[in-house]
């Protein structure tokens, strides 16, 4: 029963992989990294929830699994705030 669930998840992941590659050839400019990153996040969520079986005891797993990603927001966000407001540093 659960084996079927894993198979479905696996198939969805392959599908998303294809979608990601396909999106790379679309001319959607700045939306491209957004799309690809969004797909990667979805895939990672599937891995964590299905393959790493986050639901279930101990529920503290959610906190620990999320902590790393959550903390990255601070590193990225606060540093990016500096880069985006630094004068004289033109954007590429």
């Amino acid at each position: 029963m659960s084996a079927a669930r894993y198979l479905v998840a696996w198939a969805v992941m392959l599908l998303l992989l294809g979608l990601s590659i396909w999106s790379a050839f679309l001319r959607i400019g700045p939306w491209q990294p957004v799309a690809q990153f969004g797909i990667a996040v979805t895939q990672a969520a599937i891995v964590f929830i299905v393959f790493m079986r986050l639901p279930g005891r101990p529920s503290l797993k959610w906190v620990f699994a999320g902590a790393g990603f959550f903390w990255l927001i601070f590193l990225y966000g606060i540093s990016m705030a500096d880069y985006l407001t630094r004068s004289g540093l033109p954007k590429g």
């Binding site: 902590a67 790393g68 903390w71 606060i78 540093s79 705030a81 500096d82 407001t85 630094r86």
Partner: protein, 545 residues
């Protein structure tokens, strides 16, 4: 070993006596002692470098050491003291020893990982000794690029590897503590009954786990850049040196909290016990600890105020630096108010703890001064900053470490030390410390930059005062080595609870048996149930002590 424990009850010390039983032990208490040996060695290596620096600076022309040698000395002092003494000091010795005892567990969750972390720590230490004997590093402990990657002529890669490996030991320890505190507490030991030392270790571990990996990656990139000659942070190849600083300080500012949070935990235990009063505002103290741990991650940019970050982010970093000072102020207030209507005795641990509060306050308010962006433009990279962070890390952390060591010494060894000498050492620490570092505030405002091996003659008087203080401080730090060492052989036997304290660690024999408790403890009482009216107390397992 047998002679040392001859008249002591059977304990973790007496269980097995072979060398292998120590080197392969998974007992958290023995591992704590292994760590104690390692970091004491590093404390004196770093202290030796500090001694040379202070001797050198007595003369304004700076002729004792060659310029290159001076630069290597302060670099080594920084690297050794930060990563090989201050960061592991309280967590890996006192923390390792006490966390399972205080929460009523038999051991940490992962005893083998705990042992492995000690070996990893020493492996990193070997790299330190390697670059030390090969000739040292001359980048400063901050490894700023492109100096470290393309211009420095010391053993930068070896130093980076040492710190990188050391990071693994931090992570292993932090991981062990977090999981242990979450899952291994004795029945009845709910979160709001945890001693503040445990809260502090928990907050520290969280910071270790969340910050150390970023430092590891940063130093890895520095190592790659230096060995392969590619330009990750090199502006000539499109890199950005400020990116290195962002990543470095994302770890290294929280690292300050890795050093100070455990000290705050120790001091909370000491003040409550020797004032015979529950700590004032226990819940507030726990929130303050966690707030410092979290907000401490948002302030790293105050190390970069003059480095060319945008003025908007500089202002925000300044604001956050003021915000993070608020919980520290609350803690200071609560410690002092705890004394109110207490029944205070001034044993050596208490003297260290009160010294901590005083020095931490001075370090804290000068921290506000450097957090003010406009003032930091003048003060950044001067002796003012040097004095400020030594007040926090040495006046704060090292005082608390010594205080904790004296407080739990009877528990660790089963012996009492000479109280008189200990009080003398505590007072000497306070005096010597202030004489060493207070003149440096003045030097800093006068405009003496850090890491200068020579300076104008008119500043000599302040440097001489500082060096004189350093020699007093050196005596104060060496003294415990003698009387604590002496106590191992001749010290009076300590009872299970010489201070009549409330923690679970005092509810087992001194020294504790191999698996900590003869009977698994059941926790029924809040921590610090001291009664100042008659000095009595109720231990956490409900016993009157």
């Amino acid at each position: 070993m047998t002679t040392l424990t001859a008249d002591l009850p059977a304990s973790y010390l007496t269980k097995e006596q072979t060398i292998a039983s120590w080197l392969l032990t998974t007992d958290h208490k023995r591992i704590a002692l292994l760590y104690f040996a390692s970091i004491t060695a590093f404390f004196f290596i770093g202290g030796f470098a500090a001694t040379l620096i202070r001797l050198h600076l007595v003369n304004p022309a700076g002729t004792l050491l060659q310029p290159d040698m001076y630069n290597r000395m302060f670099t080594m002092h920084g690297i050794v003291m930060v990563w090989f003494f201050l960061i592991p000091s309280i967590p890996n010795t006192l923390g390792n020893f006490l966390v399972p005892l205080m929460i009523g567990a038999k051991d940490l969750a992962f005893p083998r990982i705990n042992l492995a972390s000690w070996y990893v720590f020493n492996l990193a230490g070997l790299f330190v000794l390697y670059f030390l004997f090969m000739g040292g590093v001359d980048t400063g402990w901050t490894f700023y690029t492109p100096l470290s990657t393309h211009y420095a002529n010391g053993y930068v890669v070896a130093a980076a590897v040492a710190v990188f490996i050391n990071g693994f030991s931090s992570i292993m320890t932090g991981l062990n503590f977090v999981v242990t505190i979450h899952r291994m507490r004795a029945p009845g030991m709910v979160w709001m009954r945890l001693p503040l030392f445990i809260w502090a270790i928990y907050a520290t571990s969280a910071v270790m786990l969340l910050a150390t990996p970023v430092l590891a990656m940063t130093l890895f990139l520095v190592g790659v850049e230096r060995t392969a000659g590619v330009g990750i942070f090199d502006p000539a190849l499109g890199g950005d040196p400020l990116l290195f600083q962002h990543m470095f300080w994302f770890y290294s500012h929280p690292a300050v909290y890795i050093m100070i949070l455990p000290a705050m935990g120790v001091v909370s235990e000491l003040i409550a016990c020797f004032a015979r009063k529950p700590i004032f505002g226990y819940a507030g103290m726990t929130y303050a600890l966690m707030a410092i741990a979290v907000i401490g991650f948002f302030v790293w940019g105050h190390h970069m105020f003059t480095a060319g970050i945008s003025i908007y982010s500089a202002v925000v970093f300044s604001l956050m630096s003021f915000v993070v000072a608020v919980p520290s102020a609350i803690k200071t207030f609560n410690w002092t108010v705890t004394l109110h209507k207490g029944r205070i005795t001034f044993d050596a641990p208490m003297l260290y703890a009160l010294g901590f509060v005083g020095l931490f306050t001075i370090g804290g308010v000068t921290g506000l001064i450097v957090a003010t962006v406009a003032l930091d433009i003048h003060l950044q990279d001067t002796y003012f900053v040097v004095a400020h962070f030594h007040y926090i890390m040495v006046g704060g952390t090292v005082s608390a470490y010594f205080g904790g060591l004296h407080y739990w010494w009877p528990k660790i060894t089963g012996r009492l030390y000479s109280e008189m000498l200990a009080r003398f050492a505590a007072l000497l620490t306070f005096l010597g410390f202030n004489l060493t570092f207070f003149p440096q505030f003045i030097l800093g405002y006068l405009g003496m930059p850090r890491r200068y091996y020579a300076y104008p003659p008119e500043w000599q008087v302040w440097h001489v005062l500082s060096s004189a203080g350093a020699s007093i401080l050196a005596v104060a730090y060496v003294l415990p080595l003698f009387y604590l060492g002496w106590s191992l052989f001749r010290g009076e036997r300590a009872g299970a609870n010489p201070w009549r304290a409330t923690g679970l660690e005092w509810r087992t024999s001194s020294p504790p048996p191999a698996h900590n408790f003869a009977r698994a403890p059941l926790v029924t009482s809040a921590p610090y149930a001291y009664n100042p009216e008659d000095g009595s107390a109720i231990a956490q397992d409900g016993a009157h002590v």
